[in-house]
């Protein structure tokens, strides 16, 4: 049986070591990182929007991590400065992403602050962004004969607008846009929070 024990103990040591290096050490190192001065916690609406972002799987095409100039032209594309660990302290779950089928969204709120643009884009991406392969999300909207007062109407180019009615955003869509507009990390990072831990 001792040979089996060698395997079991050896296997456990290897995994424990990997966990120590890749999980525990970063945990200890990143735990004290505080939010930069310019970063606000999410509002309730933004958090609801963020949950929709998670539920719709936006992460499978969009990253939220502009990289340093040495790694690519993210800055030149207007995606913002390289992000730092402090930028993510309010994020649960993390949404860094590993695919860029679509552009990075870490500063989409600064780059595209128009609510109307975002709503039209979610209703039908190709109405404002020709050539996009992003799915449309018509189920986040309602079509009404006439929009009620207080409801958010969506302005669409005529060829994308439904006949005989107006497209109105549901709360899900409004919240999602609130979250997208909150993705604005253009504040300067100074002092401790600026340096990525080394």
């Amino acid at each position: 049986m001792h040979r089996m024990l060698t395997i079991v103990i050896g296997a456990l040591i290897m995994l424990a070591f990997a966990t120590l290096v890749l999980v525990v050490a970063p945990y200890r190192e990143l735990e004290p990182v505080a939010a930069p001065v310019g970063l606000n916690p999410y509002t309730l609406a933004e958090l609801r929007g963020r949950a929709t972002y998670v539920a719709m799987g936006c992460i499978y095409c969009h990253s939220q991590q502009p990289r340093a100039n040495s790694l690519g032209p993210d800055g030149l594309r207007g995606w913002g400065r390289a992000s730092v660990a402090g930028d993510y302290v309010y994020d649960y779950p993390h949404l860094l992403g590993t695919a860029r089928t679509g552009p990075d969204l870490f500063n989409i709120g600064a780059r595209q602050p128009s609510v109307d643009w975002h709503l039209a884009h979610l209703y039908q991406p190709r109405s404002v962004s020709p050539g996009s392969v992003m799915p449309s999300y018509p189920f986040l909207f309602k079509v009404e004969k006439v929009a009620q007062p207080g409801e958010k109407r969506v302005t669409l180019p005529p060829q994308y607008a439904p006949t005989g009615g107006e497209v109105v955003a549901t709360r899900d869509a409004v919240d999602l846009v609130a979250y997208l507009l909150a993705l604005n990390h253009t504040y300067p990072v100074t002092g401790d929070s600026q340096e990525t831990p080394r």
Binding site: L30, A99, R100, T196
Partner: protein, 554 residues
């Protein structure tokens, strides 16, 4: 700060290398009791030299044996048919195979059904790139839900369950005793199935934990831990009854994998522990270890057994296989962070993962030399053994995908491929080209023993092989090229971002073609599987034979 990091880095390195040397030393001193003898424990006395492949017909088994003998320039033993295994050993093997029937079947049958469902999800996801306004009427069918549903179905439904099923079937043969506690595994299979079904339903309904490979909500994910632990019970119980002196290398891999997975999953899913960037680091530590410490050992365990067993030839070097095992455990467990190079994470972490990704060359070469040297000179056998065709292709692609992985981790190359479809192609080469191919071969070998019946339509096996092999080829080549073009376009500040999408579109269409072929292959596989199990189709010789092939179907 820098000093601590440098010290930690040096320590990692030192311990890794030291550990490797200790094991090599222990191994050379015979402390791990390895020798040429240990490589032969999976054979009965005098069995070496006799082929075994229940997946073929009698004719193909005869041809396989002739090819085997011809490669050694022996007078063919098929004609005279000296049955080299004694009747006692044959009976013992029959009993071993009987003991694992129920648990192996429970896991493998579920795996096949998840595979079909998972590939349909994958195909629909892929087609959405060609028709972004297709199936957008409901949130249930949006791209961002079908894609993680596909991943979870094929990883936790198909790959994991097939791996466990094949492991359970191999155990009694590796330990030469009847499987003990198989009913624990049967219960484990139902719990695991429940976990996958509820987990994927949750994802489709929009309830997701939001991290790649960890989407299944933790409230449901616990089922996978319980199911996996239950599946490991027979391993422990059967080990106590083993009649072999040596633990074959496959047992090492299986034991370690069954131990590792629940730990990985519990650490990763611990609710409200992980935060922000730390969660991203943990995310990729986990995701890569699902490949490295779960699927890879399960796949290699099967490859080590079936290649040797079909050819009736002990693996080339038993010592090499042990080095391969420990080096895999040491290096593979630390490579995950190369998935987030360039993210706002501590620089030293990236360095560790890149270093260990390069060190992965050690276990990969150990396995590659070992498995390919075992097959070397016997390539003619591939023609006659359906099992070998799948498993050897899988083993070759393991070498390829691992070396590609090392290359991909190098920052110079990663800069281009990061965030692109190239990574998706690489993932499919690993999980599909290596792991799934090995599983297909293993299932073709063992199902006739489980169902006590031959595969009814041998041509369907060939059709399955060519469909998925060509399908994967189209998939991998097109997406690799598309991914590279995408990465280069993304890095060029003079080109608008949309260019990086536009250049991939024709390759994404080709990917759908490849995916269609693979899915078609899976439907044929599943149909054939059900025909076997439900006793449909022609019955040629009744219960599948083991032992030496009989001339004239006696």
């Amino acid at each position: 700060m820098t000093l601590t990091v440098a010290a930690l880095l040096a320590l990692t390195f030192l311990i890794s290398v030291l550990g490797l040397f200790v094991f090599i030393w222990a191994q050379s001193k015979g402390l791990l009791a390895a020798g040429p003898h240990a490589a032969e424990v999976i054979f009965a006395p005098n069995e070496v030299g006799t082929i075994e492949d229940p997946s073929g017909s009698d004719t193909s088994r005869l041809a396989l044996q002739s090819a085997r003998d011809a490669a050694l320039a022996l007078p063919t033993s098929a004609a005279g048919n000296p049955r080299k295994i004694g009747p006692a050993e044959l009976e013992e093997r029959r009993r071993a195979d009987l003991s694992s029937r129920a648990p192996a079947f429970a896991f493998i049958c579920s795996a096949v059904l998840w595979l079909v469902l998972g590939s349909v999800f994958g195909l629909v996801t892929s087609l959405k790139f060609q028709a972004p306004d297709w199936l957008t009427g409901s949130a249930l069918l949006t791209f961002g839900r079908l894609r993680p549903a596909h991943l979870n179905l094929v990883i936790y439904g198909w790959a994991s369950m097939a791996g466990i099923g094949v492991a359970l079937w191999m155990l009694p043969r590796l330990l030469k005793t009847a499987l003990v506690g198989g009913h624990f595994a049967v219960v484990g299979a139902s719990v695991w199935n429940l976990g996958v079904a509820c987990g994927v339903t949750a994802i489709v309904l929009g309830w997701s934990d939001g991290m790649e490979w960890l989407e299944i909500p933790w409230q449901i994910g616990g089922l996978l831990v319980v199911g996996g632990a239950l599946a490991a019970v027979p391993l422990l119980l059967t080990l106590r009854n083993r009649t072999v002196n040596h633990l074959y290398v496959s047992v090492w891999y299986l034991a370690a994998a069954l131990l590792w997975f629940p730990i990985l999953y519990v650490v990763a899913k611990a609710p409200y522990v992980h935060f922000g960037v730390e969660a991203a680091i943990m995310n990729w530590w986990f995701a890569h270890n699902v490949l490295g410490l779960w699927l890879t050992p399960l796949g290699l365990a099967a490859a080590y057994y079936f290649i040797a067993k079909v050819l009736g030839r002990p693996i080339y070097s038993y010592s090499l296989s042990l080095i391969g095992f420990w080096a895999l455990a040491m290096f593979y467990s630390q490579v995950g962070i190369h998935h987030i190079i360039g993210s706002p994470i501590p620089t030293w972490l990236v360095t560790v993962s890149v270093v260990q990704s390069v060190m992965m060359i050690v276990p990969v070469f150990a396995v590659a030399i070992n498995q390919h040297m075992t097959v070397l000179g016997h390539f003619a056998a591939l023609k006659h053994s359906p099992t070998l065709r799948f498993v050897v292709l899988g083993a070759m692609l393991y070498t390829l995908v691992s070396l590609q992985g090392t290359l991909e981790a190098l920052p110079y190359f990663n800069r281009v491929t990061h965030f692109t479809q190239y990574t998706i192609a690489h993932a499919h080469l690993g999980v599909y080209g290596f792991f799934s191919m090995v599983m297909f071969g293993s299932i073709y070998f063992l199902m006739p023993r489980v169902a006590e019946r031959e595969w009814p339509y041998p041509r369907l096996i060939a059709l399955h092989f060519w469909l998925v092999a060509i399908g994967l080829g189209v998939y991998f080549v097109s997406l690799t090229i598309g991914g590279l073009l995408q990465g280069l376009a993304m890095l060029d500040p003079a080109r608008p971002f949309l260019d990086s999408l536009t250049v991939t579109l024709p390759y994404l269409t080709a990917r759908s073609v490849g995916g269609t072929l693979m899915t078609l292959g899976h439907f044929i596989f599943a149909y054939h599987f059900l025909a076997l199990v439900l006793k449909r189709g022609p019955q040629r010789v009744g219960a599948a034979l083991i032992g030496a092939p009989q001339a004239s179907g006696a």
